[in-house]
């Protein structure tokens, strides 16, 4: 049944959002801390479990449909960004935004390397 997959996805998101909101409240900030990330972890765990395979194949289709709708939804999201405000923010906003992105882009290979060399040394350490 397709709805089982959709319902599983929805349940993961609701639980993730609740945990994220509670985490934010516990930290004293009015923001959702990682709700979506937690929901994704729950879905990864649920969909890898043996019980999930017991559900009919329709359940997987229910999740894959939304995953295929991802890009269209992102296009709709782009279409409702406040681009006009970004464009009228002046030179300071432009420079600050651009500089933050450029520096962050440059750091991607640096931090990825730290992570990779770490896992590589771990793997070589585990090898007999």
């Amino acid at each position: 049944m397709l709805i089982y997959g959709v319902a599983l996805l929805a349940t993961c998101l609701v639980i993730g959002m609740l945990v994220g909101q509670a985490l934010g409240a516990a930290l004293g900030i009015d923001a959702n801390v990682g709700g979506v990330g937690i929901a994704m972890l729950l879905l990864v765990i649920a969909s890898n479990s043996a019980r999930f395979k017991g559900l009919s194949s329709g359940a997987a289709q229910g999740i894959q449909f939304w995953s295929a709708m991802y890009i269209p939804i992102v296009v709709a999201m782009a279409a409702q960004q406040n681009v006009a405000a970004a464009a009228s923010g002046g030179l300071l906003a432009l420079v600050a935004g651009v500089a933050a992105v450029v520096v962050s882009f440059l750091l991607v290979p640096v931090i990825s390397k730290i992570g990779r060399s770490k896992t590589e040394t771990q793997q070589s350490g585990e090898a007999p």
Partner: protein, 253 residues
């Protein structure tokens, strides 16, 4: 006649959005095929068209929600709003293996904290270069360079003026839009082609919409990894902005 069209479009707003977005994507893939021989991804063109439409919508209506402020296209606001966006993002985690996540776990955590601090320092540095000496203004603009949510949250917490908060939102929006457009262009040169670097990328950039769209236009398979870390970023930013980072700035100014 116009009333008739309007009432049908408004009553079926989400359905209208599905049709409009579908046509936009079809057109984008056609353009990608015909004019760039597939070198530019169709979804990258679709996202760019979306942003252009949003700019047009914003200037025509004076609203804050781009094309969704146009009455006939209101459904785009629901389709691309936070609820369905998060729902679709979570669904991309289907089929992800736990081992991939564990492999990049530490680098992912490092990237979130480094990302918030680096963006803040760069934004604050730009504010200083523009002649600001007030720690509240410097912190608010720095927080805006983190994301357009962290900016106002921090600004309000430390008592920044409305003008500063607007500026910080604008800086955050510039960042988010640039990540959407720039990611597919730089992906190869920054090694963004595997789950690990995607997780680091999500943690460094942090803007959920920027990361979501940027990775979609680069390689949809990377989306779940980048989105996973990016969703923690804004929370960490809201936590550090009005506290540690503001105190840090206050030490110097």
């Amino acid at each position: 006649m116009i009333d008739l069209i309007e009432s049908v479009f408004i009553r079926n707003s989400l359905v209208v959005a599905f049709a409009v977005i579908g046509v936009t994507i079809w057109l984008s893939y056609l353009l990608a095929d015909k004019f760039t021989a597939g070198r530019v991804h169709g979804s990258a063109i679709a996202i760019a068209l979306g942003l252009l439409a949003a700019y047009w919508g914003g200037t025509v209506t004076g609203g804050t929600k781009g094309v969704a402020d146009i009455t006939l296209l209101g459904g785009i606001g629901l389709m691309g709003g936070g609820m369905l966006r998060d729902f679709a993002i979570v669904s991309t985690a289907f089929g992800v293996r736990l081992s991939e996540l564990k492999k990049a776990g530490l680098a992912g955590v490092v990237s979130i904290i480094a990302g918030v601090i680096v963006s803040f320092v760069v934004g604050a540095g730009v504010a200083i270069a523009f002649g600001y000496t007030d720690p509240i203004a410097i912190t608010t603009i720095g927080a805006g360079a983190v994301t357009y949510i962290v900016g106002p949250v921090t600004g309000e917490a430390i008592g920044a003026s409305g003008e500063m908060i607007t500026l910080s939102v604008a800086a955050g929006l510039v960042k988010s839009i640039l990540v959407m457009i720039g990611t597919p262009l730089v992906a190869r040169s920054i090694g963004l082609d595997n789950p690990q670097s995607a997780m680091v990328f999500g943690g460094l950039m942090g803007t959920t919409s920027g990361v979501a769209a940027g990775l979609a236009a680069t390689d949809p398979k990377l989306v779940p990894y980048g989105a996973m870390t990016a969703t923690f970023y804004t929370g960490v930013g809201c936590l550090l902005g009005p506290s540690v980072l503001f105190f840090g700035v206050s030490l110097f100014f």
